[in-house]
């Protein structure tokens, strides 16, 4: 028996292309045996545990504008694929307009891990437990993807296909994520239920985001995204519809939480049972809605 909890990395070749097109072509030509590398915080664990057997890791975090973090009041926020989570959290623009994103990053692992971990990597890893994905979903994230045919955009809402599965094709590299300008006064919370306060993977994660919206009967728009309770990170349209069409009060939040509970389909695993997760989705969604309501000044 080894002293190390995890073995050393298996053999592979590290490839560092000079351009995005070179990277896309290499990944397409070596489909099934090459993987884009950002911070590596998931990839290296998966390789050591024998889940990934790639012959090539293609470093894409130094390519065109992947280092960009920019904000414009008209266009919104752009986060390059190589921007690490600590940088996101420390950005005054993110804190001012997308505080929910900073809060979600803060819940990820440790400071050291977040020096390497990226939001785009968290998304591409496509874990149902991805801590930053809920915030990215409710904030309306859109991915810029570079493939062998050039650039295209993929809305995050239709990006996930299953655990670890996305719409990305061989050769595709997500170069950045963009968010539209946040509505004035918008507020959100991310409640992460783990075995400890900090750093653990979530047993259940609930993201709620809301803002005043005169276009809806209730005068508000609320969205919720759930982590670790379905094969993919899950938006709950039924909750949004209910809270758009009913007066906002404690009973509306209770019913919305029931709808979130009905929408999820968790499994039993080492971190929690399906039954427990279902119960927690209802409790934490109601709590998150109330906390958001308070943050909105009510």
């Amino acid at each position: 028996m080894s002293i190390n909890a995890h073995p050393e990395l298996p053999e592979f070749d590290y490839v560092r292309p000079a351009t995005l097109m070179e990277a896309s072509r290499f990944l397409a030509e070596h489909a099934g045996e090459a993987r884009p590398l950002l911070g590596g915080t998931d990839i290296f664990v998966r390789m050591r545990d024998g889940f990934y057997h790639d012959k090539y890791l293609v470093d894409v975090k130094h390519l065109d504008s992947t280092d960009e973090l920019s904000y414009d009041p008209q266009r919104g926020l752009k986060l390059g694929a190589g921007v690490n989570m600590n940088r996101v959290m420390a950005s005054p623009m993110v804190q001012a307009h997308y505080a929910l994103l900073a809060e979600a990053c803060r819940s990820v692992a440790s400071y050291q891990l977040r020096t390497r971990a990226t939001i785009v990597g968290n998304i591409c890893n496509a874990s149902p437990a991805g801590d930053t994905i809920g915030a990215c979903l409710v904030l309306g994230g859109v991915l810029n993807v570079h493939g062998v045919g050039g650039y295209r955009q993929e809305p995050l809402a239709t990006f996930f296909r299953g655990p670890g599965k996305t719409v990305l094709q061989p050769g595709d590299i997500v170069t950045s994520i963009e968010f539209p300008p946040a509505p004035a006064g918008a507020a959100g919370v991310y409640i992460k239920l783990g075995r400890n306060t900090w750093s653990d993977l979530s047993i259940v994660g609930v993201t709620v985001y809301g803002y005043a919206d005169a276009g809806r009967a209730s005068g508000y728009r609320f969205q919720a995204a759930l982590a670790s309770v379905a094969p993919t990170p899950l938006l709950v349209p039924a909750l949004e519809e209910h809270l758009a069409s009913h007066p906002i009060n404690a009973e509306a939040f209770r019913q919305a939480a029931r709808l979130a509970q009905a929408a999820c389909s968790p499994i039993d695993d080492v971190r929690g049972s399906a039954r427990y997760r279902k119960a927690m989705v209802r409790t934490l969604t109601e709590k998150a809605l109330q906390m958001t309501w308070k943050k909105l000044g009510n």
């Binding site: 190390n4 440790s110 400071y111 050291q112």
Partner: protein, 162 residues
Amino acid sequence: MANHRITLKINGEYEQVDVPSQMTLLQMLRDKLAFTGTKNGCNAGECGACTVLLNGEPVNSCMILAVECQGAEIVTVEGLAQDGVLDPVQQAIIDHGGVQCGFCTPGVLISARALINRNPHPTPDEISEALVGNLCRCTGYLRIVDAIQDAAARQESLAARL
């Protein structure tokens, strides 16, 4: 499998090293360059015993490829003392008895140095949060947290005298 020749700065000295793709920064530091102060605890980015500064920011060196560090500046625990004088975080952790078995200590010291660099007046809560990625199974953390707070205060009084 390809070897890569990289040049980087470790504790102020330039080093040129040939590394295979899959070699981590931690393996290179310990096995190629004999910086054995940096420890291998979990090899999975959980325990923080391998924490070093990469371009001024703390990272788990088990979760970074050596080849990714081309041109980088690394500080390990061996690089904290200057001209034979311990860093304030080192002196404080000795004075407060914040070391028991010592295996987590190099990583704790690096995290503490990075914390004080970015936040010269950390509260106990901020110190605890900064140490989330540094597991210590001996001390219960209290003396470590006291030491880091004291180190920040000592550093400030040192700066005030200069």
